[in-house]
């Protein structure tokens, strides 16, 4: 076995055997599955958001305008009861909507809503919508138009999004692409940070405990760095595989037992709009999953290698862990930038912004994760992947140059500028 192999093996074995790893690996899936199960349970057994809104319409214009829907119950009453303010103080989930007697349709004012707590966005939306709908209807009537006719003018179009590719048309689902893209980007971000900082800690540990001097006498610094990066990558992959397997197992178990039935859980997971969620689930079918997964894996691995090398270089430069923060900051900027740009990329996956940020190797893994489900032209993908390979070879080279100097340096914490200078040093 090559020396980098021995180093990687040690990194893997030591970490996988550590109590922290075992606890995290086993506990993680429980926490993840709780994230699925708890909302479902809450929706099923937990307290509902039921709210009763009493409407006193003095103007008489809004009779029947407030329709009870879902958890919000509207009750109309004719006169203002005396003790309503007191009942508000004692009652929970209670609201009073008071409408003034004189309402000028052109300048409608005089709607007041009282409640023990400020109303949620959904409630206040529903109230204002009901009022404006009724005012609109009243205005139409004044002009002699039939509100029913106006309603019929409103048409709901279900836009079927198709993408033209070389092989013909393909269905595409924007919803599914967004969800899948963001999830992949987030996992990538998490992985780079989680395991990147593990690399930093590992290098700092070797330096701080002074075992480094013995190590570099037997292993070339480059092999030592590479072994550590690969060993930790293996730890990360192992952990992810266990997490995914255990989480899906636990969720399936929860569905079969406490939740009973797949439908309920899926619907609850998507929150209040089961249609949207189902749309996404259907949309998933339109994505080329094996292709996407292999692409994700590529960006996942190359992105990790690229950043892990830089993190290793940072670890080599300092004597103790507390000094790493300041040096890590410049390296984390591109990752954070990528996450910010990702929001814009979702709006417009084909924009020049998307293009350039998915070419730069430092931001490409996250940006491409977002773009891939929307479909990326083959030449762009090929170019980005080649740049990615060039990128991680370049950062590995630079990092190795810094590393071989850093591992022998003790004392003053270097500045970022000094680190760059180390690249040119002869060792």
């Amino acid at each position: 076995m090559s020396k980098a192999g021995w180093v990687a093996q040690r990194e893997f074995m030591v970490r996988v055997r550590s109590r922290q790893f075992i606890i995290m690996t086993l506990l993680g899936p429980f926490l993840f599955s709780l994230m699925f199960v708890i909302p479902a349970l809450l929706a099923r057994y937990g307290g509902s958001d039921k709210q009763t809104i009493w409407v006193h319409d003095a103007s008489g214009l809004f009779a029947g305008a407030f329709q009870t829907e879902g958890e919000v119950v509207f009750r109309e009453f004719d006169r203002q009861p005396d003790g309503w303010r007191d009942s508000l103080k004692s009652g929970k989930d209670l609201g009073f909507l008071l409408i003034d007697p004189a309402i000028d349709l052109n300048k409608p004012t005089g709607f007041r809503y009282y409640s023990d707590q400020p109303p949620g966005v959904a409630t206040s939306d529903r109230i204002t919508r009901a009022i404006s709908d009724r005012i609109q209807a009243l205005k139409l009537k004044q002009r002699g138009l039939d509100p029913g006719f106006v309603d019929s003018l409103r048409t709901n179009i279900d836009l079927q999004t198709l993408r033209l590719t070389g092989e013909g048309e393909e269905n595409s689902s924007t919803g599914a692409a967004t969800v899948v893209g963001f999830m992949a980007a987030f996992i990538m971000y998490l992985f780079i940070f989680l395991y990147g900082s593990m690399v930093v800690r590992g290098v700092v540990e070797e330096k701080a405990s002074r075992v480094m001097e013995v190590l570099v006498a037997s292993v070339r610094p480059f092999d030592l760095m590479l072994g550590k990066i690969l060993g930790i990558a293996a730890v990360g992959l192992a952990q992810f595989v266990v997490w995914i397997a255990l989480t899906s197992g636990l969720v399936a178990l929860a569905q079969a037992t406490i939740l009973g039935g797949t439908e309920a859980t899926s619907a609850q997971m998507a929150g209040s709009s089961p249609d949207g969620f189902e749309g996404i689930m259907l949309g998933l079918g339109t994505l080329n999953l094996p292709f996407l997964l292999s692409m994700f894996l590529f960006y996942f691995i190359s992105g990790y290698l690229l950043y892990a090398a830089l993190f290793a270089a940072i670890g080599s430069a300092v004597d103790n862990e507390s000094d790493t923060q300041q040096l890590m900051f410049p390296v984390t900027i591109p990752i954070i930038l990528a996450i910010i740009v990702a929001q814009m990329v979702v709006q417009n996956p084909g924009s020049p912004l998307s293009f350039w940020f998915s070419m730069i190797p430092l931001t490409a893994p996250i940006l491409m994760a977002v773009r891939l489900p929307f479909g990326v032209p083959a030449w762009e993908l090929a170019l980005s992947m080649s740049l990615m390979v060039v990128g991680f070879l370049a950062t590995t080279w630079i990092a190795a140059r810094i590393y071989r100097v850093g591992v022998l340096m003790y004392g003053k914490k270097p500045t970022f500028k000094e680190l760059l200078k180390w690249i040119t040093y002869k060792v």
Binding site: R10, S18, S209, V211, E213, V214, A217, S218, L408, V427
Partner: protein, 349 residues
């Protein structure tokens, strides 16, 4: 120094850092099967040289030859290195750790396991194999680290301050192990500040000061070279001063008071015996020898003399003329402590 081809030759090695020269034309020869002492004040360049020999860093100029061939990376498997700053993985079991380091030095897993068992038993740390370094005492950690240095049967062993951190009992164990390794044919390089170590164990030394080798050679030869013709006379009868061509040596470096007299060693009297005489560092340099009788008349006295001119025979003739009965005459050669300080002081620019 022996004329045989050196085991390791360091030839005109130069190492520069951006603002200073760490090693300036440094040349050394390590003879096979001997212990070589690398001396020098802090910051002289010893660690840089040790790192170059270990191929942790490369020289800017010059060459290193192992058995006449240029040193290659594969040769690291033949080297064992105990750095001055000791360190092992804190949270790793010492057995696994030793196994790992042995494998990095090219041992097969089976060989490594066998060697770990052998050395751990030998150093009496077998029972601790499954303990982590952080659970061990400092001395125990030192033993583990020494075991890790020699597990892979290196034939060039580089020890930077080997005895620091060892209590006297374990230091003795370590010393015996080092001598055993030497007996088994290993060549050793010590970097040390302890002159007793040099005197007890090293056959050759080099003194590096300000990036240059300022003194090197075989230890006995160097001490002869530094002899200032000081003799210890054991005699009965009074010395009458002044004596032509002879002076009473001021106690060595008595001007600085830094070097105790006990640093001076006699060639014949074993140092331990000599030290036990407790020569006062000030006042009279005439003391009662261990063999002295209680009888005042026949008391054997010790006198130190330094010849400023003439030969030892002239002194002996003088003693006979003065009716001084000599029991013994011993040459006192300076210890390495004094040689070290003298050389470093003289080579100050």
């Amino acid at each position: 120094m022996s004329t045989a081809a050196p085991f390791l030759e360091v030839r005109s090695v130069v190492k520069r850092y951006h603002n200073h020269t760490a090693l300036d034309e440094v040349s050394l020869n390590l003879q096979s099967g001997r212990i070589f002492g690398l001396l020098g004040p802090n910051g002289a360049g010893k660690t840089t040289l040790i790192r170059i020999i270990n191929q942790i860093i490369g020289p800017d100029e010059g060459q290193l030859l192992l058995e006449g061939r240029p040193l290659s990376y594969a040769d690291t498997h033949r080297m064992g290195y105990l750095p001055e700053e000791r360190g092992l993985y804190k949270k790793m079991k010492i057995g696994d750790q030793a196994l790992y380091l042995a494998q990095l030095r090219g041992l097969s897993a089976r060989d490594a396991r066998q060697q770990v068992r052998h050395w751990f038993t030998r150093l009496d740390i077998q029972g601790w194999v499954d303990k982590k370094v952080e659970e061990l005492s400092k001395g125990m950690q030192q033993k583990v680290q020494f075991a890790c240095t020699v597990l892979h049967r290196p034939d060039l062993i580089i020890l930077d301050e080997p005895f620091s951190g060892f209590d006297p009992v374990n230091a003795e164990v370590l010393k015996q192990e080092i001598l055993n390794l030497q007996r088994d044919g290993a060549t050793l390089l010590f970097s040390t500040h302890r002159m007793e170590t040099v005197e007890e164990m090293c056959q050759d030394i080099a003194l590096i000061h300000k990036s240059k080798v300022v003194l090197s050679g075989e230890t006995g030869e160097i001490r002869r070279r530094f002899s200032d013709r000081t003799y210890l006379l054991r005699h009965e009868g009074e010395f009458q001063w002044p004596v032509q061509g002879v002076e009473r040596p001021s106690i060595p470096n008595s001007d600085s008071e830094k070097v105790p007299l006990s640093e001076y060693h006699s060639e014949k009297v074993p140092s331990s015996e000599y030290h036990s005489e407790k020569v006062p560092s000030s006042g009279s340099d005439v003391v009662k020898a261990p063999s002295a009788h209680s009888n005042e008349e026949s008391a054997v006295r010790e006198t130190r003399v330094r010849l400023t001119q003439g030969s030892l025979n002239d002194l002996l003739a003088h003693c006979i003329a003065q009716k001084i009965e000599l029991h013994s005459v011993e040459e006192i050669r300076p210890g390495f402590h004094e040689i070290f300080i003298k050389t470093v002081k003289e080579s100050q620019p």
